[in-house]
């Protein structure tokens, strides 16, 4: 049974920065290699998974993030409707996993999504991240997997100065503390 309750449900405002945990939203990990797999995903979701590294694709409901040449993360823009929460997973599972085109894993309870907004977002992240954000911050839809304060994260550049950061559930409280602590000094 998936645990949809986030360990943090908070939002904070700092000068030039707003941080909030947006949960519960559906997150699905996709793994597959062949062309049929990509075509099938495109057909089912009406979004083609990006094949170019460090990019994403999406529509008003869903985003697909490139994680590696054979791995993607789908997440929704809307919170889970508990009356109908498994429909996307079921649909993909039946069309992909059951026919052995690839693997579909529901990782909703695995990742916590933190939204960071404001002109000081990159100043905050640069304090604890080895990644060079110079090109990243100007490319809407860019994605990176890197470290923030030694914690593995996935960062999606949703819009200018508007990021969605995914962190593993067990590290989320620690990262949340670090972000809050760092935000006070920028």
């Amino acid at each position: 049974m998936l645990n949809y309750n986030s360990p943090i449900l908070d939002s904070k405002n700092y000068s030039g920065l707003k941080i909030s945990v947006i949960e519960p939203i559906i997150k699905i990990n996709l793994r597959g290699k062949n062309r049929d797999f990509i075509t099938k995903i495109g057909k089912e979701l009406s979004i083609i998974p990006p094949t170019e590294a460090n990019t994403s694709s999406g529509n008003e409901n869903l985003n697909i993030l490139w994680l590696s040449p054979d791995e993607w993360l789908i997440y929704s823009n809307n919170k889970i409707d508990f009356k109908n929460n498994n429909s996307l997973e079921d649909k993909l599972f039946n069309e992909i996993s059951k026919v052995k085109l690839g693997a579909v894993t529901n990782v909703t309870d695995h990742w916590i999504m933190i939204n960071l907004k404001g002109e000081k977002v990159f100043e905050l992240l640069s304090g604890g991240c080895p990644y060079n954000f110079n090109d990243f911050k100007n490319l809407k839809g860019s994605v990176t997997q890197t470290l923030v304060n030694h914690i593995d994260v996935i960062i999606h550049n949703k819009d200018i100065n508007d990021l969605n950061l995914f962190v593993r559930r067990s590290f989320s409280e620690h990262l949340w503390s670090w972000i809050n602590d760092g935000s006070r000094f920028i």
């Binding site: 590294a53 460090n54 590696s68 040449p69 080895p130 990176t144 997997q145 470290l147």
Partner: protein, 91 residues
């Protein structure tokens, strides 16, 4: 600290990667026919060259893919990076 050009993700800091030891070591086709010394040679013995070395690396905190690298261990200069299964571009 140095930068590594991951063949999948592009240029990243070395702290995102893990070294995986010497590259291009072939597993013996018939391990049961080897002597203990030959098996130990395959399992444990590795070159530790001061100079150009062929290595395996993993982008642990990125795409989690393995790849090969030609690195000069004396100055950390990276001569080439190439995907698993590809032939080394320099000899």
């Amino acid at each position: 600290m140095f930068l590594i050009n991951c063949p999948y993700c592009g240029e990243r800091d070395q702290s995102e990667f893990s070294a995986g030891g010497e590259a291009h070591i072939e597993r013996p086709k018939q391990p049961t026919e080897l002597s203990d010394d030959q098996w130990a040679e395959f399992l444990f013995m590795r070159k530790n060259i001061k100079g150009i070395q062929y290595e395996r690396w993993n982008h642990t905190h990125g795409c989690r893919k393995w790849f090969n690298m030609v690195r000069d261990t004396s100055n950390d200069k990276i001569h080439a990076v190439y995907k698993m299964g590809e032939k080394p571009p320099v000899k």
